[in-house]
């Protein structure tokens, strides 16, 4: 039996060349990040479901995904077999980096997964509720330091929106940007900062262990199985979702676009994909077609507005 496993690896590795390269997925980030994992999960499921015989993942890291996006838009133009993974962070990065290539220059296919932001404080923090935190923010914005992801990213945008709704100048927030989720989490656990903000999954195990206190989540309604109010409930109208999507190359014919959309729909409906979502703790927020285009346009204009107010975009 064991020998069989070994043989199957070798056979699998050797058999790969027998298929034509059906899909190439650009992960516009370094290995390990959310987009890379999304791309590699797509790869696994596409191959196991027989949607594509051979899927290759190519990492084109850099500048919040805008480098990968620019390369994809120019080099893969009209190629129906190449895809790019992206997400909400890209929307902000396109604006802050003044990227010449935007999401208008590719063919967005569907939103795949999404995650809401969570606001946490260390267990030792004096802030018991989200209201306490907002009160402190109103009193002295500089005294409330927020640890989160990169400047201009989803976390930063969410804090800006909270400040704005609370009547505080978004330029005044004391936002401390960290590169990886891990480093920010360590700063929060070590009580180096007042509060932390990131995707809920990042904090989940700490919240369950009681080392972090979850004050609020950024969803529209309460999330099932998560014991925390929404930001909306505290009277601030802030809903932020960090979604991930898949897009196809520009310049496709309608038939080609429909074929890609059909493949993605088949993938999303598959049991293997649902299984992967469960093990990875990703929410299924599949949205395609005109509904997705509309959502995208709304997100882009809202993001542009808040980034201007934070002072990151002129």
């Amino acid at each position: 039996m064991k020998q069989f496993f070994l043989a199957s690896i070798l056979a699998g590795a050797l058999a790969l060349p027998a298929f034509a390269a059906d899909y190439k997925i650009i992960a516009p980030a370094n290995p390990g990040g959310g987009w890379d994992q999304t791309a590699r999960t797509l790869q696994t499921v596409m191959q196991s479901e027989g949607i594509s015989g051979n899927v290759q993942v190519v990492n084109v890291p850099g500048a919040g995904g805008t480098i990968g996006l620019a390369q994809f838009a120019s080099q893969d133009k009209g190629n129906p077999n190449s895809l790019i993974v992206g997400g909400y962070v890209m929307v902000g990065a396109i604006l802050t980096n003044k990227s010449p290539v935007t999401l208008k220059d590719v063919t967005p296919i569907a939103r795949l997964t999404g995650e809401y932001e969570a606001i946490v404080v260390p267990a030792s923090s004096p802030f018991q509720t989200f209201g306490d935190l907002v009160e402190a923010l109103k009193k002295d914005p500089g005294a409330v330091s927020w640890a989160g992801g990169s400047a201009g990213g989803t976390d930063h945008i969410a804090v800006g929106l909270i400040a704005k709704e609370a009547g505080v100048d978004p330029k005044k927030i004391n936002y401390i940007a960290y590169s990886g989720g891990g480093e920010a989490l360590a700063a929060i656990l070590g009580a180096q900062v007042s509060a932390g903000i990131s995707g809920y999954g990042e904090f989940e195990s700490q919240v369950k262990a009681g080392t972090l206190r979850l004050l609020a989540v950024s969803s529209d309604e309460r999330i099932e199985g998560v014991d925390a109010p929404t930001i909306k409930e505290s009277g601030l109208d802030v809903v932020v979702e960090n979604w991930r999507m898949v897009a196809a190359a520009p310049g496709l014919t309608d038939e080609q676009k429909a074929a890609v959309s059909a493949d993605i729909e088949k993938l999303v409906k598959s049991a293997a994909w649902q299984e992967q979502l469960k093990t990875k703790g990703w929410q299924d927020t599949y949205l395609a077609g005109a509904a997705f285009d509309e959502q995208l346009a709304k997100d882009v204009s809202a993001t542009e507005g808040i980034l201007k107010e934070i002072g990151l975009v002129e």
Partner: protein, 163 residues
């Protein structure tokens, strides 16, 4: 290979090349000043903003440039051995060829040329022999890393011929 190259001691006083290095350092500092001066110095709550550290580094580079001039003047720079430029050109040509051909001709051909040109830099000038060897070697490497280990290496006509 040009024979009879003896190490030529180029110790001069003052050392011209060292003065060039000082000038390069000063230019880097100047570019940093220019670039950073255009940034909004949004420091937020820290008095050390995005412009502070580049300024400090640029000032230090200027200081090092002055120090370099001083040492150049005194002839304190170490002696240099004579450098042959021919081999340098071969290697640079190989790297440029690989860079330009990678996307068009694929990994094996582009890298095969680099292989052959590098061998040429070290005295192996029979290109009619080294180029095929390089391409075959690069192709074997491509098969191992791209097909067996799933590393994404650009494929070109040669790779598509087989896979």
């Amino acid at each position: 290979m040009t024979n009879g190259s003896k190490p030529v001691h180029v110790k001069r006083r003052p050392d011209g090349a060292a003065l060039v290095i000082a000038a390069v350092l000063a230019v880097i500092a100047g570019v940093m000043f220019w670039d950073v001066s255009r940034l909004a110095g949004a420091a937020g709550y820290s008095q050390v903003g995005p412009t502070t550290v580049p300024y400090v580094i640029a000032i230090c580079l200027l200081g090092l440039a002055v120090w370099t001039v001083f040492e150049a003047w005194r002839g304190d720079f170490p002696e240099r051995e004579h450098q042959q430029l021919g081999p340098i050109f071969w290697i640079v040509a190989g790297l440029v060829a690989q860079m330009l051909l990678l996307k068009i001709a694929g990994f094996s051909i582009a890298t095969g040329l680099l292989f052959a040109f590098t061998a040429a830099a070290f005295g192996q000038r029979k290109l009619w022999k080294t180029i095929p060897i390089g391409i075959v070697f690069a192709f074997v490497v491509w098969v191992i890393f791209s097909k067996l280990l799933q590393l994404s290496l650009p494929a070109g006509p040669l790779e598509h011929l087989f896979f």
